[in-house]
């Protein structure tokens, strides 16, 4: 995987506004039948995700990353992974990665919109503990998130 700091306008041109692109503009260079990019606030995704993936890295809260995904969905991109993946709940993990289709449909995908809306609602149900974690716990949480998204990327290769 290439994880280089790109320009904001590259990200905007590829995937829409309000994102910071960490990979080069290699749209759809991997993903088997499904062209996608990874939307994440997890720095470890840049270090450990499989080679060749496009990553849009947006530091910030988990609710922020859900809202970012909602922006893409509003533009016609589809969610390819469940936003509430993993048993670690919003507020209990500060990290979330999602696969989003590179291609945008003309109309908004309603299933994606429903899933992300439900995920944003879920953020209010859990107390935010992320400020209390040790470096080791944060690293564990990053690793779990990387594992979940890596499994999804493997699935995308064969779907």
């Amino acid at each position: 995987m290439r994880c280089i700091a790109g320009k904001q306008e590259d990200a905007d041109a590829l995937y829409g506004p309000a994102s910071f692109l960490l990979t080069g503009p290699s749209k759809g260079q991997r993903g088997g039948c499904v062209k996608y990019f990874v939307l994440t606030n997890n720095p470890m995704v840049c270090e450990k995700a499989a080679a060749g993936a496009d990553v849009v890295y947006k530091p910030g809260s988990i609710q922020g990353i859900f809202e970012e995904a909602a922006c893409y969905i509003a533009q016609g991109h589809r969610l390819l992974t469940h936003p509430l993946s993993g048993s670690v709940k919003p507020g209990e993990t500060p990290y979330k990665s999602m696969l989003i289709s590179s291609d945008a449909l003309q109309n908004m995908d309603l299933a994606s919109a429903r899933l992300i809306s439900s995920a944003i609602d879920a953020c209010g149900k859990f107390s935010d503990k992320s400020g209390s974690y040790t470096e080791q716990t944060l690293r564990d949480l990053q690793l779990v998130d990387v594992s979940l998204i890596s499994g999804a990327m493997d699935s995308a290769l064969v779907s």
Binding site: H82, L84, G124, Y133, G151
Partner: protein, 426 residues
């Protein structure tokens, strides 16, 4: 397929110089099992302790709970694909050390393990306050990754449980129950006038530290398939996950699945319990579509009239649950779903992350966000170092007087979604 399950009622567990099972009392020499644990070089040390119902004892962080069993007659061994070969299990004769459990504990990832209180208000929420617990606390070698530690503790638990179960091989059981499932042709003729009912069990399978194993196979790699319901009684399905304590299925719950037990109780009387269908809960949405399509197809192929669907977890699995429900209903098969709820601390929020009109028959295992206070216990087995971090706790959890203010999420089995718990609603 026919299985005779012989239950040996364990009356007490004591430490002893010699390991033996005598008159319902399990005598344990911990040194005998240490080498079984330490044979894995990922574990640096292990300590054993005993926790009994009613004692002022808190066990945390709990990873898995396992019932020791032994295969006395018939093919295969307990925990096939893990610590036994891969022969198909579920027939013949199995002995269970009933009323006790092996509890494995250790800070695997520091945020996902649970609490078992043996007395006080917390004890009322976990089924494992009622078992005599032999607790095995494992300390990892420095520098190993959380998932390596999880695997090491998981496998050590199975090795020790199998070794303890072996003590029951030649013991006359206190109770025997026969479970039998005929092949599809035979049961169609015998129970032609009874509704055909199946059990769809969704297995936690989202990825690292979120895995379940079937005959040793990672469940996220399976297509939905059919088991005889007795196979899980011999440990064909085991837990390998570190998800929220309240609604994960420890291995003990797979061995003693309440849905299977209740369906067998009515088998041949009010219904024909045809099959145990297992499916997964993957992260990738296309995987969810594939698995729910296959599950609905199996229900149709089996000519089922109704199914009970249980999920494991919250959020991502809610989508699989609703997909399964919708697609199975669309095949003309009635469904009842079992879930728990994350309805917020006030109970007023949307309970599930997904919903559909087809899901019109729901059994709840309780609200995992419900807040309770757990008073200080005289003894802690494990450590409280992580108690502020586990799912359902917060930075304010540990009070000055030693009590814990937590959500039910932290309690192992509190809102279990196979009904192996004490909460519900009418």
């Amino acid at each position: 397929m026919k299985l005779t399950l012989g239950k040996i009622f364990i009356q007490d567990i004591v430490f002893s110089d010699e390991t033996r099972l005598e008159s319902g009392v399990l005598h344990v020499n911990p040194a005998q099992y240490e080498q079984l644990v330490l044979s894995d070089d990922k574990i640096s040390s292990v300590s054993f302790d005993i926790a009994k119902p009613g004692e002022s004892v808190r066990i945390t962080p709990v990873k898995d709970v396992i019932e020791p069993r032994v295969k006395v007659e018939g093919p295969g061994g307990i925990f096939p694909g893990m610590v036994a070969g891969v022969e198909t299990v579920g027939s013949g004769r199995t002995h269970a050390l009933s009323g006790m459990a092996l509890v494995t504990a250790g800070p695997i990832v520091g945020f996902q393990e649970g609490i078992i209180d043996m007395s006080g208000p917390g004890a009322a929420y976990t089924p494992f306050s009622q078992t005599l617990n032999l607790v095995m606390v494992c300390t990892p070698k420095d520098g190993i990754e959380a998932h390596e530690y999880e695997r090491a503790v998981r496998m050590a638990g199975f090795r020790v449980a199998a070794a303890i179960g072996e003590l029951g091989r030649d013991v006359e059981p206190d109770e025997e129950i026969e479970y039998e499932t005929l092949n599809f042709v035979e049961d169609l003729h015998l129970f032609f006038d009874l509704p055909r009912v199946g059990y769809v069990q969704m297995l936690q399978s989202q990825g690292l530290l979120h895995d379940t194993y079937v005959y040793g196979v990672d469940a996220k790699q399976i297509l939905p398939t059919i088991l005889y319901p007795t196979e899980s009684m011999d440990g064909a399905i085991v837990s390998g996950n570190c998800v929220s304590a309240c609604d994960k299925n420890p291995t003990y719950i797979h061995q003693n699945n309440s849905v299977i037990a209740d369906l067998y109780a009515e088998h041949g009387k009010t219904l024909n319990f045809v099959a145990h269908i297992i499916t997964n809960e993957n992260v990738y949405l296309a995987d969810k579509e594939r698995s729910s399509n296959q599950t609905a197809k199996l229900c149709r192929m089996l000519g089922l009239d109704g199914v009970i669907i249980s999920q494991e977890g919250f959020g991502n699995p809610d989508t699989d649950l609703i997909m399964n429900c919708k697609k199975i209903e669309a095949e003309g098969v009635k469904t009842v779903i079992i879930t728990d709820e994350y309805a917020g601390r006030d109970g007023k929020s949307q309970s599930l992350a997904d919903a559909d009109v087809a899901a019109d028959a729901v059994v709840t295992g309780g609200n995992a966000n419900q807040v309770i206070t757990l008073p200080k216990m005289d003894k802690v087995i494990g450590t409280l170092d992580y108690v502020n971090k586990i799912a359902g706790a917060s930075v304010d959890t540990l009070q000055e007087d030693g009590s814990l203010v937590v959500e039910l999420q932290v309690i192992t089995g509190a809102t279990n979604e196979t009904g192996f718990n004490k909460l519900s609603a009418r």
